[in-house]
Amino acid sequence: MLDADHFRRWMTATAASVDREAERLTALDSPIGDADHGSNLRRGFRAVTAALEKEAPDTPGAVLVLAGRQLISTVGGASGPLYGTLLRRTGKALGDAAEVSEEQFTQALRTGVDAVMQLGGAAPGDKTMIDALVPAVDALDAGLGFGAAATAAEQGAEATTPLQARKGRASYLGERSIGHQDPGATSAALLVAGLAEAGAGTGADPV
């Protein structure tokens, strides 16, 4: 079973990896975007960990709803509302249970990812974060666990390289968007990797 602490560790691990990888995310957002994805998410996840420390929500759902709200309020851009919705809707779907099973979480995450697809209108193959998130949920659904989900997300992100973007800024470039890995899919893979880290109990402690 996964408790509030597990989800807190997830957020902290993600904040740490986003911090570490911010320059790479911004660099990926440069040839096919506007060079802000890394600093956007860094600002957002710093706010998330600060809020979690301050408010210390005690259910998995509350942790994710708070994290999602923080992202919406601090990130901006396309990724803020999308990631914010992902966490908020996942958290809402978890209800107010003190602990949730991996299966419950997987179902909730599916709800969150669906909400992102509805909000942004992107489908798999459009070269967005969806291309990392959907394979991850599918892996969890197949009972393969967090580690496999992280691998699936990572592969999904890499598989965006040959795609032509159909959503977000990269779509303005038409065929010139081909050959570049999508920054949002890359950060989504970090998010899923954070899940694995939290599961392994290796997430950095809250600062």
Binding site: A27, S30, A35, R43, G80, R169, Y172
Partner: protein, 330 residues
């Protein structure tokens, strides 16, 4: 890095402090990142709120004031602001007559303004929205996020702002804003990339002898790279791209807009070429504006926006306006 900044993280807050000092006629809330005209809310007047990523100054904060925006929400550089800013702005300017959100068509802006609209309506504020999507360089199809909002934003904000100032009701202000957008088209060209504070180096590599055709205002590359062209050739390309998409029957407003680092001397020369083509194509010009209005940090280059107008729109364009970035008649 050749930026006049302290550190990347404080660029927007620093700029807002500097705006506050220079413009006592505006209320600049540095902490919450909202710029509001000092006399808001004006009784019976529709509020006009816009916003977007920073780095396009004077857009939007420089267009706050009588006759134009009631408030603006600056995001981080090239990053749409967050809903909290927009809700706060709407609350600050709503007199009960409702608020129009002017939203440039980018995924981030659309999503954040949508969320803000929901939240503001929850607080009892009547919200209308108009999307600006004038950039003909982007194919408007299922395969893109749709056309970008660029130069036409200035026309929408000025004309809707004048209508709101006259006391016209929300539906009418919204309809006018939509009419302006539907009749406006833009095309942009970059002679250099720009450098964002967060990245600290140019957003893309452009050898000095090349240019990018069909760029937006966020330092993104354009649709096509070519070897350097003359001002006349660039004007031909840009104006024809616009006229291929719209055949103005009425006179047009012309905006020859600098991206930031192109000298005004060159912009005026470019305007001469734009006007030559409009004469050749039989398009009548009502008014022309030349300058840096919708910029992309220190990008070199320019964009052309044409907006077909009728008598009412021209009257509203000519109406007095008093903002840091656009001012006449008062």
């Amino acid at each position: 890095m050749r930026m006049l900044i302290n550190v990347a993280e404080t660029v927007v807050a620093d700029a807002l402090r500097g705006m506050a000092a220079a413009h006592p006629e505006l209320t600049v809330d540095v902490e919450n990142r909202v710029i509001v005209r000092r006399d808001a809310p004006v009784a019976g007047k529709v509020g006009l709120v816009s916003g977007g990523g920073s780095g396009h100054e004077p857009l939007h904060g420089g267009f706050v004031g009588p006759g134009m925006l009631s408030a603006a929400c600056p995001g981080e550089v090239f990053t749409s602001p967050v809903p909290d800013q927009m809700v706060r702005a709407a609350a600050a300017v709503d007199s009960g007559a409702g608020v129009l959100f002017v939203v440039k068509n980018y995924t981030g802006d659309v999503l954040n303004f949508d969320m803000a609209a929901e939240l503001a309506e929850d607080e009892g504020i009547q919200i209308a929205k108009v999307l600006v999507d004038d950039d003909v360089a982007v194919t408007d199809s299922l395969y893109t996020a749709g056309r970008r909002g660029t130069g036409a934003t200035l026309f929408v904000e000025k004309i809707a702002g004048a209508a709101a100032e006259e006391g016209q009701p929300l539906e009418r202000v919204e309809a006018l804003a939509r009419q302006v957008n539907e009749n406006a088209r833009s095309f942009g060209v970059a002679l250099s990339a720009c450098t964002t504070p967060a990245k600290g180096s140019p957003t893309f590599d452009l050898p000095p002898g090349d240019l990018e055709l069909g760029v937006g205002i966020h330092g993104e590359p354009g649709r096509e790279r070519r070897a350097m062209m003359t001002s006349g050739e660039i004007a031909d390309f840009a104006v024809h791209a616009i006229l291929d998409d719209m055949t103005p029957r009425n006179p047009v407003l012309v905006l020859v807009n600098g991206m930031g680092a192109t000298p005004l001397l060159e912009l005026y020369g470019f305007n001469a070429e734009v006007q030559r083509i409009l004469v050749e194509r039989g398009v009548a010009v009502a008014r022309t504006l030349v300058g840096n209005y919708v910029t992309s940090l220190d990008m070199a280059g320019a964009s052309v926006t044409l907006c077909q107008i009728d008598e009412e729109l021209l009257r509203l364009w000519d109406a007095p306006v008093r903002t840091p970035g656009l001012r006449w008649g008062m």
